[in-house]
Symmetry: C2
Subunit: 314 residues, 2 copies
Amino acid sequence: MSTILLVIAGWDPEAWLARFRALGGGREVRLWPDVGDPANIDYACVWKPPAGLFATLPCLRAIFSLGAGVDHLIEDVALPAVPIVRIVDSNLTRRMTEYVVLHVLLHHRRMKLYEAQQHARQWRDDIERPASEVRVGILGMGVLGRAAAEALVQIGFRVAGWSRSRKSIPGVETFAGKTELRRFLARTDILVCMLPLTPATRGLLSYDLFRGLARDGVLGAPALINAGRGGLQVEVDILRALDDGTLIGASLDVFETEPLPPASPFWTHAKVYVTPHNAAQSDPQALVANVLAQIERHERGLPLEHIIDRKLGY
Amino acid sequence: MSTILLVIAGWDPEAWLARFRALGGGREVRLWPDVGDPANIDYACVWKPPAGLFATLPCLRAIFSLGAGVDHLIEDVALPAVPIVRIVDSNLTRRMTEYVVLHVLLHHRRMKLYEAQQHARQWRDDIERPASEVRVGILGMGVLGRAAAEALVQIGFRVAGWSRSRKSIPGVETFAGKTELRRFLARTDILVCMLPLTPATRGLLSYDLFRGLARDGVLGAPALINAGRGGLQVEVDILRALDDGTLIGASLDVFETEPLPPASPFWTHAKVYVTPHNAAQSDPQALVANVLAQIERHERGLPLEHIIDRKLGY
């Protein structure tokens, strides 16, 4: 029977451990740092593992990320030559879609304005534009981006997606690669970022990029939603763009430093929604069964799904 | 050529007048109170007409409401025996769906909590429940209720609908009539009201009704969204239910008195979203063509669509 090592930093590991043991089918489940004999460990299921850990596990057969994104482990220079598996789970995908739909609607329906009016006891209903006049652009058209795009199309938005390689999605205009990024930005009123964090995407959400967004939209100025990783954004550039009107508002679920430091100007910025990196929480109730099903596939000799490409970094 | 009388109170009529004249195909369009010879008026297109107006128009052939709902005119005791036509327009329907999806997600994703935490510079991510564990109940399953229900099902909520007569909608549990109201409420965590205002529905949203909502939901207590009419709600009951924990929050787009008086406790209530009756604004750009198409149908001898039932009041 194989042995699973659970390595979790930043989250409470107890619910994960209990769930792995309940569904593990007799496999031994150890919780880091109580590794025991490192030579026993067959599978590592991890969130933010310490650098160098994997090099100490000589018989490791695969590594599973417990959250969307693998940037938390891919930078370990001592990664062994075993498959690294992303989590793709309908529960995680639906949560991300909820977050994206909510925040696109918050900007589209100008809720910051109406909350300020409420605070001031003002009854004023300006003309609202229909969703069909608002162009949402999604950066990153993997499983999460595609699901969000489809939900937004249903509600009536004009949706486009940008990704490294070209995708084809009914009702969604798709752009691909660096050469088409400028055209994608120029037609976008609400920019939603769901990219993985890689050396190629770090710092992409910069002032220059914001200047490339549509200047002729019905919202007055474009809005930014980042549900990817904090490393994708340049926070001083977001503040500058909000303050000079390049951006009309922002929803940020992720930050350069998490938890967001108390001194950050985002906390009290009138144009910003701050959420504590919970757009799509990893729920052990839903995700452990998914990981164990992959381990069972592997042990039956079937290929693992959603193995990352190390060169691309996701 | 027929003559149209435009009667608009509470909105700026200029955009409506311009649109009717631009698309009117040579019909004369008069703006109340400049009625001219009342015997010339064939069609009245109205929002909140003064009581008794219709009795002064001897040759009237039909009355068109310019907003969703006809309660603003149906109480006129001197209504002539001509068809009264509701507006059913995809633009209006989509706007209402946007509002409902936004506010259901605001309560589901506990944005009041996260906005309070943001204000307090607190980074805390409690476990969020997936939409599949949240039961939305829609009161009123006409065109608007059905469209909202379908959008919420797509996002993953468990959706039920209640209406006077039974409906059948894929993926939606339906309840009908007074005898099934209690069961409908008992399985509902987020109650969305889109009923028409009639003698049978006035004051329906009462403390007693709120007490009948689910007590075992994942949100802690049920939430209320009223996008129908202010006359459907008993405002002292909503306040009592919010204050004693019977309701966890409310989104109110409509009020007993509009504009909402400055002294109303809703303005500053920490658990309430107030919007200025703009869930689904009547947009002349979209709606005038719809009304004129109906007038053309009528003049070609075809039946008018969406004629209200005077006994039911909608």
